[in-house]
Symmetry: C2
Subunit: 353 residues, 2 copies
Amino acid sequence: MFDLSTLAEPIVQAPLAGGPSSPELAVAVCEAGGLGFIAAGYKNPEVLREQIEAVRAKTDRPFGVNIFVPSPDAADPAALRPYLARLEHEAGRHGAEVGEPRFDDDHYDAKLELVCDARPAVVSFTFGCPPEAVFDRLHEHDIATWATITGAAEAATAQAAGAGALIVQGTEAGGHRGAFVDDEDAGGIGLLVLLQLVRRTSPLPLIASGGIATGAAVAAVLCAGAAAAQIGTALMLAPEAGTDPTQRELLNEPIPTRLTRAFSGRLARGMVNRFMTEHHDAAPIAYPEIHHATSPLRAAARKNADPGGFNLWAGQAHELAQARPAAEIVRELGAEARRTIHETAQRLALTGR
Amino acid sequence: MFDLSTLAEPIVQAPLAGGPSSPELAVAVCEAGGLGFIAAGYKNPEVLREQIEAVRAKTDRPFGVNIFVPSPDAADPAALRPYLARLEHEAGRHGAEVGEPRFDDDHYDAKLELVCDARPAVVSFTFGCPPEAVFDRLHEHDIATWATITGAAEAATAQAAGAGALIVQGTEAGGHRGAFVDDEDAGGIGLLVLLQLVRRTSPLPLIASGGIATGAAVAAVLCAGAAAAQIGTALMLAPEAGTDPTQRELLNEPIPTRLTRAFSGRLARGMVNRFMTEHHDAAPIAYPEIHHATSPLRAAARKNADPGGFNLWAGQAHELAQARPAAEIVRELGAEARRTIHETAQRLALTGR
């Protein structure tokens, strides 16, 4: 089974579902010595299969597939109505129509079947913890399993269920929070705190995620006990990423980010824009219903190159993203991490007792 | 002038105004090779002078004094009224009376005079950036100056004004946010992101603050470019700290924290409790008015050992605080940081390219 310590660079690509993810990006990260990822989220199984095959055609290195765990229950339709009414007005701006606020499971079972057949090196999960039987089945197919956690209790649950490693997602991370339950009261725990809390109680390999954009930060999370750093926003300006052109132009600007449910009905971090500001306070907890409802609006805003009208997912360090080939980014972060650790070790030996 | 690199341990004590701060704690940290701190906040100048003298009597090592920069304007009294009415009900629980919601500057000028006379090694500032003339005057008295920042723009302002070093406070930190303006939209930036952003643009020494409770985390922030780690909550169970006994009993429990203005009218992080839950949404931006208004209520709740009735300031890693003498904590964090960096350097040399 895949072992993180065999990577040439301690770098894992974040799945980046919903746009920036592409087979080309995964291939570039893999070929540079990191672990590339394909996002299964929002795709139908046929597209997912094609993308896995596209990666396989270009690299024989290990790569991962990330799967969304479905929400257990549909939202109460009555609770959606006021927000859907707001979205009607929003839709008028771009001549679009509000999408059907449907509940679905994002083809969860079919995607599990597919990965058992295609056997990527790693399958990671976001938005929940699968039952033990799912982990067992993947392990029987020689697939390493990673669970995304945002708190210490989730880490304990995932470990008990049989996850092979933990993606430790700090509040700094861009895009959706991977929490098992979308509950703001669980607190937005910073990456460095979360690594300390989880490292104390879990022997599993940890993949640190959230706001990592420099080799110095890679070195930092390795010191804090991670086996690798997961980078997402840091790759969004790479030519291989499918990042929307309108967002590309803004990514290096000092625009604050915040967590919001305005776009999808589930907490996610993006750059503050008009849509977020106007609708944040009114957004219900209702994923994937609100995701589907806003989908045509977001597509229309993208088409109109209107950065105020769609989700500008980004982590807190988005200003530091570099417009360079993904392979260069991965290799430079790895080299800078090694340099940083050696320099810091020397500095500590020279001063102090 | 004091140079951070001369510390035997790369550890700075957080000032911990309002309870946990004590001359004994500062002395213990200094004698262990770290930099102890006295909190000037909330104290009248006579008490501050006595505490500085108490530290001087027990150690000849360098130490620091932290001063609150006053709010520029008093809050609009009309905006306070609804919240003060809520507090009346709260006061009844403990037979206390709501305090006078007065505006003051916490004896700012007198404290600046005092430190110019007493000449501690370092004076740090919280809640704002003094003008250039203040930094110049302190430097003329051979006092190193540190400014607390919570974002990249504040770092640039503090550097331009002449601050000699920056305390980089992540959202993970316990107690009050040191932001120049109490504005939630500035975003709760995680420590590791903030270090990356500030390190890119500022050559000043950085002191990393927020959620640092283990030597591995000290190693992490040193890799991320900090010259030292500031620890506060990690010292709150030390016998030398003046931590309230009721909070001591809770500090290692897995209780979430959040940022709130409920207790002081200014954002601060504490363990979630009844007072916070009931009043958070209603609290205005009004510091120090609300601080003074709740002061008798909080004192009464402390006296009654009611953990639901006062501010349980704590950083996100509070579960990891250790009930040990402060000197042991400082020395162990330093030793563990050195061990971690050497082990991580070896691990990276063994694997990878």
